[in-house]
Structure formats: C-alpha cells, structure tokens
C-alpha cells in the first residue's frame, strides 16, 4: 500500500495546463524525489497532496491526517520577531508535545546555541534548519520538503541529508522536490522526473543512470535530465 499516490491527475491554472495526467506513487518509508524544471508543477503537486489545492481530475491521496504531515515549503512561514525556540513552542503547544522534544529538535538541526536568537537575525541556512526542526517536531508520518537545500552551502546541506536519512530510518516517508541532481542521486531511494505535465521517467537513481548509460566517473543523473527535458527553461 503506497503512502502517497497520484493517478492521472490534471490541474490547470486558467489556460496553463500544469499537470496533464500525472501518475506515481511513493512507498512507505522511502525517500522519494520529484525532479523537474522550474515551473513544471512540483510545488503544485505538493499543494494537491497536502490538500491545500484540489486537482481538476484524477485521484490524489496521502495516507496521513494533516497533523501527521510535516512541511517545508517555498515560504518558510516563520514568525520573524519571535526567537527560534518561541517559534517551535507555538507548534509544541498545538501538537501537545513535551518541551524536551522541542529542545531535541533544535539540537538535531544544530540550533541549540541559537535558541534565543530572533528569527530576523538568522542566516538563510539557519532559517532553513529551523524550518526543518518545525517540520519534524511532531515526528510526522509523511514529510513534504520543497527544495529543502536550495541556497544552502554544501556542508549544511550534507547535515540536512543526514537528518532526512535518519527520519526515514525512524519510519517517516519523505517526499522532496529538487533541482539538484547530485542531491537526488545521493539522497533519494527513488525519483520521478516531471516534464510537460507528465512523469517521463522513474526509478532508483542508479537504475535510471544505468538505463541511459549516463556514467562519467559518477552516475550522472543530470545529463539524463537535460537529455529528457531539452535542458531549456520552460
């Protein structure tokens, strides 16, 4: 039984047919990557799966109540004038979880020392880590991460990869979008490629690279991607 699935989903904004029969599924406990050029509809898919947007036709389901979902979206939604800890306390109170778990989440993303810092004063990477702490605070069954490492330095990104893997090992299912093919290659158990409103390829990164014989010294998912999408801007 898939944790997340879409069957023949269509979605248009006015004349702009963004999703044109999207079908895929995400297995329980895997790190799943949605790859696609800018404007291909990745965020739209997340919005549909988290029930913030409805599809025009087709079926979309996520096997989790909304309080069992963790989110990291394009907009971070942080309360800028509140400290890191106070931001998390808002959600700690809503979820009814003990303070110890909140402190643990801060610790995990390496923000313990900055817990009193106002969000306004955080660097971009620190903000992103705080958002991740908020997303995992309630040990969600399903985690949606929209470009979790965009604008992060490789080192911070690596720390976040580690955390994402740990969450998977603890039983969460993770859906993430990315432009970063290297990230997809190393982090994701399975990926799909979205182009022209449809899924044009799917599988384990390694398998896809083998299929297209796309190896340099490293498996090169990026070249498959460019080959399949034409590489231009949409």
């Amino acid at each position: 039984m898939a944790t997340i699935s879409m069957k023949n989903v269509h979605k248009a904004f006015g004349d702009n047919q963004v999703l044109n029969g999207v079908t895929f599924h995400v297995n329980p406990g895997e790190i799943f990557g949605m790859l696609g050029p800018s404007g291909s509809g990745k965020t739209t898919i997340i919005n549909i799966l988290t029930r913030q947007l409805s599809a025009d036709s087709g079926e979309a389901s996520t096997a989790a109540e909304s309080h069992e979902i963790g989110l990291m979206l394009e907009h971070d939604g942080l309360f800028n004038r509140l400290s890191c800890l106070d931001n998390l306390i808002v959600f700690e109170t809503i979820y009814g979880i003990p303070r110890a778990r909140t402190l643990e989440a801060l610790e995990k993303v390496g923000l313990s020392d900055a817990h009193k810092t106002e969000v306004n004063k955080l660097s971009k990477g620190m903000r992103q880590r705080l958002v991740l702490a908020r997303a995992v605070l309630h040990h969600p069954k399903v985690l949606f991460l929209d470009e979790p490492t965009s604008a992060l330095d490789p080192l911070t990104a690596r720390g976040i990869y580690q955390l994402i893997r740990q969450l998977r090992d603890d039983g969460s299912t993770i859906f993430l979008t990315t432009h970063n093919m290297e990230e997809a290659t190393h982090l994701c158990d399975r990926v799909v490629m979205l182009h022209g409103g449809q899924i044009i390829e799917e599988g384990a990164p390694q398998d896809i690279c083998n299929k297209y014989d796309a190896h340099k010294t490293l498996p090169d998912l990026e070249s498959v991607f460019v080959q399949l999408t034409g590489g231009g801007l949409e």
Binding site: T50, Q52, S66, H67, I69, L71, L73, H75, D76, G77, L78, F79, N80, R81, L82, D86, I89, V90, F91, T93, I94, Y95, G96, E118, R134
Partner: protein, 249 residues
C-alpha cells in the same frame, strides 16, 4: 483551547516586539498625557489663559485621542497582524497543524483586546474624567468601541492578501472613523453623517464628562455603539464564511 493558547502566546510575544504595533497602542495616550501636562498649572512655559482653555477642553481632547486610537490605531493593527500571517504563509502552517482559522482569529483578537485594555486604562488614568462612575462609563464605552474596531480590522485583514494591501484597505476606514468625529465638531452636516458610527458616539460621550449640553442621551450613544458592534460582528462573520482563511493562507 490548546490552539487558542498557542496563538495567544505567539501573538502577545509578537506584538510586544513589534514597534509599529506598540507605537499604535502607546502613541494616543502619550499625546493625551502631553496635553494634560501642558494644561497643568504646575507646568511653566505655557501661558495661563491657554492652560485654562486646555484644561476646560481636556475631557473632549482626551476623548478625541481615545477615539483616534479606536479608529486610526486599532483597526490597521488588527488588519496588519492577520494580513502579515497570510502573506508570510505563517497561517498556512498553523492551519496545516490543525489550528482552526476561527481559533487563530480569536487568539489575535484576544491579544489586541488585552493590549487595548492597557491603552484604555492609560486614558482613564491620565484623563481625569471625574469620579468612579465616569471612569466606568468611559471604560465601558471604550472597550465596546475596541471590540467594534477589532471586528472591522479582522474583516479587512481577511480581505487582504498582503500587509501592503491591508494598509490600502484600512486607510479609508481609519480616516473616516478616526478623523470624522473631529471634523464633525466644526460642521453640522458631517456631524449628522457621522451619527451612526461608533467613533462619533465615543466622542459624543465626552459631553457627559465635561458637563456641557449633551448632543444625545448617554443610553443612546451606548445603543449606537453596541449596534455597531453587532453589525460589524455580522459583517465579519459573513466575510469569514464567504472568503474563509485557510485556502488563502
């Protein structure tokens, strides 16, 4: 209840750290304080006749400041809090976590009301409206007006996609409700036009404190203020049901 508590705490911390918002709560009583200081016989540097004039008009001026707070201060504050959370998508995370939009609005409204209580008592303390009875009348009228302003601010906040948009929406309301009563003092037509609005009635209550001939009996002013609260409450409920908050957040 848990959700209300979470929002209340968030909003209280947030408002206390927001200079713009705190300025709105503090500015009007502070101006009242300055005026009453100038009018005080112990204050040198202001000619005595002017001091006497100021002192005689003090309840009216204090009421004018309080009216401006209700109209120009509070409405934009409430609208900007809500529209900021919509614009920054903070509200979306709250509703995804299971907070009902109504709990969110209640939390925001409660914090605004809570802070407005301090502003009201600051006026009461500085204003010297007379005896305990007068103070109670003032507080009752002000807090009723505060509720009306919170309803109106929340309605305009729901309708705004961004903080900037909320400024555009609240400005006309703030000018009419905040400045209208002042203009009404100089112009009979404006005064008649303003009669149905709660800020005009707040201002009219000043006559009761200054002992001047009242334009209307006290009960009538209260009736109009409460009619405003009810109408604005209904408008809020209708807009909330039609527009919702969750989808836009």
């Amino acid at each position: 209840m848990r959700n209300f508590k979470a929002i209340f705490r968030k909003q209280l911390l947030d408002s206390l750290k927001n200079m713009e918002i705190m300025l709105n709560f503090a500015l009007y009583p502070f101006m009242g304080f300055l005026m009453s200081t100038f009018a005080s016989p112990n204050f040198d540097g202001v000619p005595e006749e002017i001091q006497q004039m100021l002192a005689a008009g003090m309840p009216n001026m204090m009421m004018m400041m309080a009216t401006m707070f209700a109209g120009m201060g509070l409405i934009p504050v409430v609208a900007s809090i809500i529209s900021e959370d919509i614009e920054k998508k903070s509200l979306r995370f709250l509703t995804m976590a299971g907070v009902k939009p109504m709990s969110y609005l209640l939390g925001v409204g409660a914090v605004s009301f809570f802070l407005a209580i301090f502003t009201t008592f600051a006026f009461g303390f500085i204003g010297d409206f007379g005896g305990t009875r007068e103070l109670l009348v003032f507080v009752a009228a002000m807090l009723s007006g505060v509720i009306a302003s919170i309803f109106l601010g929340a309605t305009l906040g729901i309708l705004s996609r961004s903080q900037q948009a909320s400024t555009g929406l609240t400005m006309p309301a703030a000018v009419v409700l905040g400045f209208g009563p002042m203009l009404a003092q100089f112009n009979g037509t404006i005064s008649r036009l303003m009669t149905p609005f709660y800020t005009q009635q707040l201002n009219a209550i000043a006559d009761y404190f200054s002992g001047g001939p009242a334009a209307a009996p006290l009960w009538q002013s209260f009736a109009i203020i409460w009619a405003n609260v009810i109408v604005l409450g209904i408008v809020f409920a209708v807009v909330y049901r039609k527009k919702g908050l969750a989808q836009r957040g």
